[in-house]
């Protein structure tokens, strides 16, 4: 089986996989990074969201071959100690219920704030509309994104 060399959370990782394997399954099954979740496999739910060169992408829709040469960040690598302002805001607002979708929500929010430090409500909704939360934590997500934006505006950097 082909071997792929990936840049995951700042480290070089190799994985044996078929070239068309979605990055999602390489992360979860080959590299043991189970924080990235499987939800639908067709790019509809966003549970598998990771950062690819800083942009939020659906890892079920990116093949391992196409991920080579890009910086991949998963929830495990967003910060060394859960100290990213988005993660801290998520705790402060007590966002998660079942929690299954929250890796995707947090990474989508982190990507948004990295390029749009003070997003409007509509920009928040637009950036997160692709990540389903069946438990309905959406209003807390909105509050947490605002809280994180404020913290980052005051110089609390990831």
């Amino acid at each position: 089986m082909p071997v792929f060399s990936l840049d995951v959370n700042g480290a070089r990782r190799t994985a044996d996989a078929q070239a068309d394997t979605p990055l999602l399954w390489v992360l979860r099954d080959a590299l043991g990074l189970t924080g990235t979740k499987y939800g639908c496999g067709i790019g509809q739910c966003g549970a598998c969201t990771v950062l690819l060169d800083g942009a939020a992408v659906r890892s079920c829709a990116v093949t391992v071959k196409d991920a080579v040469g890009h910086r991949i960040v998963t929830i495990e690598g967003l910060s060394p100690d859960a100290g990213h302002p988005v993660q801290r805001a998520w705790v402060a607002e007590e966002v998660p219920q079942c929690g299954y979708c929250q890796s995707g929500q947090i990474l989508a929010a982190a990507a948004l704030l990295a390029r749009t430090p003070l997003p409007t409500d509509k920009q928040v909704d637009d950036a997160l509309a692709g990540v389903l939360c069946v438990c309905g934590s959406y209003n807390r997500i909105r509050s947490a994104v605002r809280r994180a934006a404020e913290a980052m505006g005051k110089g609390v950097r990831p």
Partner: protein, 704 residues
């Protein structure tokens, strides 16, 4: 630091009489903490243990699916123990009858744990006091407890850790004294959820995240029609998919076992399957509607107050309406899965299950083992909503693991999850009401035509049909009330969906009641309030919701307000929705919730569960539905069955009616009023009365 710890090997050793080694099951999760009490620990019962360091371990027998039991259950223990909350550690209990029937459903966790878990903590506290009193040579009555210490009248202090070993020698009180609610320091106060930190950095282990040494991954192909089966399979192409190891039949279908989930999915796609769909092959939604509408149906009477027929005939004005509800899927965020390891003498299961002892019994039966030889670990659940009360997935995983001869994680794809759900039953609700000359409610009839979950699961049920739940308790004063039911089987697998039959029946009842109020020329809130004298708690919630929502105050042009209330699972909830309808599109702007759920454990959780109920109820109210063609569900993934998204989430305000009543449920009762409040608001905003759900499917295009 308070922490959530999972997996206990020692528990298994205890239940299996110390013979676990003979089971050849020497594996447990890497990093799993040992949670068993040491020799010097105080372990007065199954629920808690206090070690020499003063750490309080609490075993939680309920499944955490987002509703907060990993926090609320230890709060009950800690309150009566007078524990130092920062020293409380939580362990998910493995399935064991010593915890009673471990089932998380019916919004029962707090209700059924309220007394036993407080007593468990109180028993330990009483033993610690006895040990301290003995050491000091004073009467126990002169001692008090506070935050993990015993203090006597002279100010001497001993910590629970220092006392644990001595306390263990005292008798466990059978009926420990409970401190009165007025003295509560933890219960009723906002406490941060213990499972939040691990859910923001990828550490949380859901069922699908379980990893065992040598573990393989599996998918199973099943016939999508209830009662159907796989007739023939050609596996050559599947076996050529890189990573696929084995293909074999199991009772539920054909399993593909592979080195990775992806290989198992690809292998399954490569199977050449022929199904025998059985007797339900020709079934579709129209045929099911016709079954429910059968004009010759024999109705079972569930409630009869007075003579409905006579009261209706004598009514000044008469209304009749039919409300129709589709099948719904649960759509747990985490697709169904279970990891199993089966040895010659026993089985070990890791499952995101709402029913650990049910899974234990059903897996044992499937494998021909005694139940005590099946160890069931409950992982975190990525949503439950009633779907995970069923043991079909753990049983299937056990079959696959046994045949594979290796630990296997069975993963259902989202398509499997949606097509093979135990759907919320379809229903046809036929209502009739009569008004007297003064606009009073003279007669009320609610006929529920729906398949019975109890009958499908357990055979012909005795007593009142389950389908009238949420209808039979009609709380409004009326001259005569009749509630009856028709429960034909419909050839589609059905189950319990968050709030069960209240999800349809409350919607039909509360929407039709709005129609009746408007026909009587009355305000829908005032009409309800005036008829709720017999249910003061429901009326209290209704009045609070109306007041906080500003009922009666003018709204911007194009907006409408709707109100609905319902009592279920021991709690009383009223909701007011504000919507606008533009070009047939319904937009929900705000939902005000008022809840009376009796005494409470954690107000944070109550607020979160009400927010959750609004989101969970809105998707089906607006657009989600499962339809049937050729005997199978037509919707297979989120592109065809779409839960609510963030830009559609209304502002939600939650208000609580203070109450000293016994605790009510909280996971489900917020759901039933959502759809009727919204649909009543749609009628107010647009004049369109939606009677067939979901609302969006008919574009809200018909005038009432």
């Amino acid at each position: 630091m308070t922490a959530v710890v999972r997996m206990s090997r020692r528990d298994f050793l205890r239940i299996s009489g110390g013979t676990a080694a003979a089971l050849a099951l020497g594996v447990h999760l890497p990093g799993a903490a040992r949670a068993a009490p040491g020799a010097n620990a105080l372990t007065p019962n199954a629920w808690l243990s206090i070690d020499e360091a003063g750490t309080v371990t609490v075993w939680v027998a309920r499944s955490e699916m987002g509703q907060g039991v990993l926090t609320s259950m230890p709060m009950l223990v800690a309150e009566q123990l007078d524990a130092d909350w920062s020293k409380v550690k939580v362990v998910q209990a493995v399935a064991n009858p010593k915890y009673g029937r471990m089932s998380t459903g019916g919004s029962t966790s707090v209700r059924r744990s309220w007394e036993p878990l407080q007593k468990a903590g109180a028993a330990a506290r009483q033993m610690l006091v006895a040990a301290a009193a003995q050491r000091w040579g004073v009467a126990p009555e002169t001692c008090s407890t506070s935050s993990g210490t015993v203090v006597d009248s002279r100010g001497r202090v001993l910590s629970y850790g220092e006392l644990a070993a001595a306390a263990a020698k005292h008798e466990v009180p059978a009926e420990p004294r409970l401190k009165p609610p007025a003295d509560f320091r933890i219960l009723g106060k906002p406490v941060a959820r213990l499972d939040v930190p691990e859910k923001v950095d990828g550490r949380a282990i859901f069922g699908i995240d379980v990893r065992l040494p040598g573990m393989l991954f599996a998918t199973v192909a099943r016939c999508p029609v209830r009662g159907g089966r796989v007739k023939a399979v050609r596996e050559e192409a599947a076996l050529k998919v890189p990573g696929v190891r084995q293909v074999f039949e199991v009772p539920s279908g054909v399993a593909v076992v592979a080195d990775s989930t992806w290989a198992a999915i690809r292998g399954r796609e490569a199977l050449k399957l022929t199904f025998d769909p059985g007797s339900n092959a020709g079934l579709d939604s129209a045929a099911i509607s016709a079954i429910l509408a059968d004009p010759k149906a024999k109705l079972e009477v569930a409630r009869q107050d007075g003579d409905f027929e006579a009261a209706f005939a004598a009514s000044e004005r008469k209304l009749e309406a039919v409300y129709e509800f589709p099948f719904l899927a649960h759509v747990t965020p985490e697709p169904m899965n279970t990891t199993a390891r089966v040895g010659p003498g026993g089985a070990e299961i890791w499952s995101p299950t709402q029913s650990p002892t049910g899974a234990q019994d059903d897996v044992a039966k499937a494998l021909g083992l005694p139940a005590e030889r099946v160890l069931v670990h409950t992982t975190l659940l990525g949503g439950g909503f009633g779907r995970r009360a069923m043991s079909d997935v753990p049983v299937e995983a056990a079959h696959v693991a046994r045949a594979a001869g290796a630990p296997v994680q069975l993963v259902w794809t989202r398509e499997d999850d949606m097509v093979h759900d135990f759907f919320r039953p379809v229903s046809r609700n036929v209502l009739a009401a009569g008004l007297d000359a003064q606009g009073g409610l003279a007669a009320w009839r609610h006929t529920v035509r729906a398949p019975s979950v109890a009958a499908q699961l357990f055979g012909k049920a005795q007593g009142r049909p389950d389908v009238v739940e949420g209808a039979v308790g009609f709380p409004y004063r009326a001259g005569a009330v009749r509630v009856d039911a028709f429960t034909p089987p419909v050839g589609v697998t059905i189950g319990w969906w968050r709030s069960v039959y209240s999800s349809q029946n409350a919607c039909a009842e509360e929407c039709f009641l709005d129609e009746v109020a408007l026909r009587a020329g009355k305000d829908p809130f005032a009409f309800r309030r005036d008829l709720l004298g017999g249910s003061p708690r429901l009326r209290g919630a209704l009045e609070l919701a109306a007041a906080r929502a500003g009922w009666g105050r003018p709204l911007p042009a194009g907006r409408g307000r709707g109100i609905a209330c319902h009592a279920s699972f021991g709690s009383y909830v009223a909701e007011v929705a504000e919507v606008s309808v533009e070009g047939g599109e319904i937009r929900v702007h705000r939902v005000v919730v008022a809840v009376d759920c009796g005494r409470i454990v954690n107000p944070n959780t109550i607020e979160a569960q009400m927010e959750s109920a609004v989101a969970y109820g809105l998707g089906p109210a607006l657009r989600a539905a499962i339809t049937i063609r050729d005997g199978a569900a037509m919707q297979r993934n989120f592109d065809e069955y779409e839960p609510l998204r963030i830009h559609e989430m209304p502002a939600v305000e939650v208000h609580r009616v203070p109450s000293d009543e016994p605790p009510g449920g909280i996971g489900e009762p917020g759901v039933p009023p959502v759809a009727p409040a919204v649909l009543n608001a749609v009628a107010a905003a647009s004049g369109v009365r939606v009677r067939t759900l979901p609302a969006g499917r008919q574009g809200a295009g018909k005038k009432a």
